[in-house]
Amino acid sequence: MDRLKVNIGNLEFKNPVTTASGTFGYGTEYADFIDLNRLGGIFVKGTTLEPRQGNDYPRMTETPSGMLNSVGLQNKGVYYFAEHIYPTIKDYNTHIIVNVSGSTVEDYVKCTERLIDLDKVSAIELNISCPNIKEGGMAFGTSCVSAAQVTRAVRKVYPKTLIVKLSPNVTDITDIARAVEDEGADSVSLVNTFLGMAIDAETKRPKLSTVTGGLSGPCIKPIALRMVWQVYNTVKIPVIGMGGISNAADAIEFMLAGATAIQIGTYNFIDPAVSIKVIDGIVDYMDRHNIKLVSEIIGKLII
């Protein structure tokens, strides 16, 4: 299956199909449904320096063709991850990428430092775009200055592949992409969730304990696709695209728009085997269109 290979920085991915942070646990949650070794990579759960309990219930509500969540980065912290979770997942034959989140630049740096020595953590994805935590989070991703600042600090300590995950809640996402590229990011991934809100008219109350939450799923695909295309046309580093992907055609659209790899998030909840179906569907598309290498699709939108 060499024809599916793509490169992100120094890393070679066996195929462009990966799963999005916060929607795929540590992979093991899906082991009953699919062969995890077939995935291009797994972006594991948002991980912070200290353990976090996350936000109060209710944390989720359904929306037209999507959902809002306000999980708020519930996780046991990077030390627990390194000591207890990493050993159980390190032997999967796929890239494990840790989604690093934090409230201060120092948090990001310290969290990253704990990951450097984990051989099988091939890369980190810097989450500067989480809309569901009070301090930091998305705030880092909505200004060039702070996005650059946190990227710079982490870049200094992290020698492996550094992916920065961008927030779509901005006027011009290309500005932020350029800022983190300038600080040495090896790749940008986009998009994280859109800040949204839902109200129960009958109770007159917000449907989420946090009032606002992050919107994901097919509903956001048109906006995400536009942003991937804009960023692809702006930066030189590879782009990892996501936002509402639910089938192979969606994945190919993101690649045509410029994504070197894609992540599948929310749709895993509806079909836990969607990632494998997307891989198979991409091969089928390549066969039908006489495309030898998947990399030939990247950015090949005809305008």
Binding site: G54, M60, V71, I270, P272
Partner: protein, 257 residues
């Protein structure tokens, strides 16, 4: 856990808002061992409004017929669409999901309290207790007579007590007011239903020093531990009600202060 197409063997409208749907794997695969309290996630594929799957308890398993029963209350678009699936058509399920009720090792006085469609997992639990040689009591509550579901099935498994809010069947009032709670001493109580009912049952159990498990119906996105949306605040922190539940011992829950 698996994702599998099931064929609807029958779909019976029990009353104005409940359906009993019996399904069997489309490819005749044998059903795995399943336990009372576990649930399935049903795909709703013909609605512009429903995006996520819908969690539904396993109401009963008929091993001989290789059939699983689902008792569904039509409360919104998702459950309505599921209940519109005619016999012969397929439903796509992720199953079996979640933990299950604790099956006691020694006999005792067991009470299974269900309110509304919360009676669904109680039938399967009653059956399992029966198989162990135990004869549990059931306490079923509904708004009115027509809301008391599967009465015949329950009566085969033990003694059934009922309450209705309008007094049209059994004692008038809520389950928690039923006289049997005063008159009989129980060793363990299981409950499923609307949250206020379960809290009341938990309080009763707590006050009377009876062990108690409740099955929660928190909102779920995935149903198998991936999204962390379904958490319940417990003495051990936020636990996923889809993998570490839906059944919780009430001592773990932050319900009683």
């Amino acid at each position: 856990m698996k994702v599998l197409d099931f064929i609807v063997c029958s779909n019976e409208q029990l009353n104005y808002q409940n359906n009993l749907i019996k399904v069997t794997p489309a490819d005749n695969e044998l059903l795995p061992d399943m336990h009372p309290g576990q649930f399935v996630q049903i795909l709703v594929h013909n609605s512009p409004k429903v995006f996520l799957r819908r969690p539904i308890s396993i109401n009963f398993v008929n091993k001989k017929k290789n059939e699983m029963w689902l008792l569904i209350q039509r409360v919104g678009e998702g459950t309505r669409k599921i209940c519109e699936t005619p016999a012969g058509k397929t439903l796509n399920l992720i199953f079996p999901l979640g933990n299950s009720f604790t099956i006691p090792q020694v006999n005792g006085n067991f009470l299974l309290v269900g309110g509304g469609v919360g009676t669904a997992p109680m039938l399967f639990l009653g059956k399992k207790l029966n198989e162990k040689g135990f004869s549990p009591d059931f306490l079923l509550g509904g708004r009115s007579e027509r809301d008391i579901l599967q009465l015949n099935d329950f009566e085969k498994l033990g003694t059934v007590y009922c309450t209705t809010e309008d007094g049209s069947f059994g004692e008038k009032g809520f389950v928690i007011h039923h006289s049997v709670l005063q008159n009989k001493k129980y060793d363990f109580v299981y409950t499923c239903g609307p949250k206020p009912m379960m809290v009341a049952v938990a309080k009763y159990a707590h006050e009377n020093n009876i062990g108690c498990e409740a099955s929660l119906e928190n909102l779920m996105a995935c149903g198998f531990g991936a999204c962390l949306c379904c958490v319940e605040k417990t003495t051990k922190g936020n636990l996923c009600s889809c993998t570490e539940g839906p059944v919780f011992n009430i001592n773990e829950l932050a319900w009683i202060d």
